[in-house]
Amino acid sequence: MSLFEAIRLGLGQLRVQKLKSAFSLIGVFIAVTFLIGAWSIVNGMNSYMTEKFAGTLVGVNTFHLRKRPNFTPNVTDSTWRSWARRPRITFADADAVVHGITLPVLTAWASEDRGDVEAGTKKVAQVSLNGATTDYFAIRNIKIDEGRPFSPQEDKAGAAVVVLGYDLADRLFEKRDPLDKYVRIHGIPYRVVGVAASRGNLFGISLDKFVVAPALSPIQREVNPPGVIDALMVKANSEPEMRLAMDQAEAIMRSRRHLRPRQDDNFALETSEGVLNFWAKINRILMAVGPGLVLISLVVGGIVIMNIMLMAVAERTREIGLRKSLGARRRDILRQFLAEATTIATVGAVLGIGAGIFLSILLNVATPLPATVAPGSILLGVVLGGGVGIVAGVYPATRAARLDPITALRQE
């Protein structure tokens, strides 16, 4: 009997025993659905993290000089306390670094806090309030949709002017033109000079709910104690230049802080790598737990298939006897039952792939979690599913093949 015949026979059994087959393939189905679904989340998150998240929050070829890292997964309390004791980054620190770096770089001060923004009778709470310098827009890649960014003169003078995020402008002014109107932050009016283009969202959180005002404008009282900033952003032209600029910044800061050669830095230089490290840690956990869960459901699925096949062999003993009397050799019977088990498992896997793809599309549409189906996971799903079928089918099929035709035929 050819392999094709055996597979056809297996599919035939599947058709005539729908309910039993549905139960037997459910284990593999769940395993493969989970495999495709979980993998697509990890896959989607990966590209999301590297392409959007890191780029948006830190920027390409950019590092931040900060008191402590911004993205800090799982730090111990003692580390946290030592970070809290560090001195802040002062205007003077920032100036020294800006003047000390010899490479062509863009630099900007940046400080952030959250607060209310009002316009007329409208009020939006929990807005990201940013005090920054002119190149902030270029470094963070914030495009201006209407109006202009604030000028270097306004920046130096600390003029009370502001650029609004897209959503914020929309909510404060609705359909009206916000340019040259005033918004109030903590009661102080700021003239709107520009509105940023929409930046979309990150895990469902809007990136357009912000204001940017000159660092020396009255906003500095909202975001930081006097003379202090959250971060100095430095954007270089390339990755190696960024590394050099980081070395220079480190050297300058160490000498300003009078650190001895063996002392650790008491400031942080953070790149998008830091953010990605954070993600890599989550990824490692997923990669450790995910395969385990898939494996468990595959083993369960395999046991189910093995049991169903043993039942099938017992039920069809007479059929096996008949086939043997008609000239089926051991290997024909073996092949028939192996093919049947493998067919059941593969059909389960294929259905699981369908469900997994559906799941990932659903996740994409209905939740902020990004999910992209990995082509490799589809292949792996089929291979694993079929493999489970073969492994689970070996024992029942061997038993069937070893049946004595006379006793098998006599079976009621």
Binding site: M1, L322, S325, G327
Partner: protein, 243 residues
């Protein structure tokens, strides 16, 4: 009595002898007690004979049928089928012999319930390695031979008992076997249908088919041209019906 070849171990049967057993014995070990089901059966069946094997239960006729059908191997003695000694063949070789040389007809028909008549008849051809088109053609031809040309796509439960047995006969014939081996072929049929099946056997015999039939019913055995009676594992009588 038929013309019998004087056979000794080491001889080869004459070409027109399809079945030759020489001192064929089969013993079963039933939990320490040895049961001697066959105790040295010498039997010769020529091409195109129609033989009924009779005997009371326990006479060894089922054992003999299993041995003739190559479903079992003897404890001692020789069995030659169509010029080939098959008594010492291994499992897979026996499967090939069953496929090529023997067409089984069972008391309980043994059709696959969920398959069409045509597919049931195709089964032996699948194991013979024929391709799908040849199989369909040969199976359809065999069904026409037993008068079921218009029932090919019916399933066994859509057929009468006699029709089912005729599907089984078509399945037995489809590989053009040396012998048609029937085990109580009318045991599950009423007498009218039994006559109908006996008519099919008679027609096949007339067309040149060698038929061996195991039965305990004398009136069924009477359809055969020769009746071999077993008793206590030995041939007790061997009668040729007067033509």
């Amino acid at each position: 009595m038929t013309r019998v070849q004087e056979f000794r171990t080491g001889d080869t049967p004459l070409p027109d002898i399809v079945i030759l057993t020489h001192k064929l014995a089969r013993e079963y070990d039933m939990g320490g007690e040895v049961v001697r089901a066959l105790r040295g059966v010498d039997l010769q069946i020529r091409r195109n004979e129609y033989v009924a094997i009779m005997g009371p239960s326990g006479s060894g006729k089922s054992t003999l049928m299993n041995l003739i059908g190559c479903l079992d191997t003897p404890t001692s003695g020789e069995y030659w089928l169509n010029g080939q000694q098959v008594s010492d063949l291994a499992d897979d070789a026996l499967a090939r012999i069953r496929n090529k040389e023997i067409g089984f007809v069972f008391q309980t028909f043994n059709l696959l319930p969920r398959a069409s008549a045509l597919h049931n008849v195709e089964l032996p051809l699948i194991y013979a390695g024929q391709n799908a088109r040849q199989r369909r053609a040969l199976a359809a031809e065999a069904l026409r031979r037993v008068g079921l040309g218009d029932r090919m796509e019916h399933r066994p439960n859509e057929l009468s008992g006699g029709q089912r047995q005729r599907v089984a006969i078509a399945r037995a014939l489809v590989n053009a076997p040396s012998i048609l081996l029937a085990d109580e072929p009318t045991g599950n049929l009423d007498s009218a249908t039994s006559q109908e099946i006996m008519q099919v056997f008679a027609d096949l015999h007339r067309q040149g088919q060698t038929v061996v039939m195991v039965t305990h019913e004398a009136d069924i055995a009477a359809h055969a041209a020769r009746v071999v009676t077993l008793r206590d594992g030995l041939v007790a009588a061997d009668h040729l019906k007067a033509a």
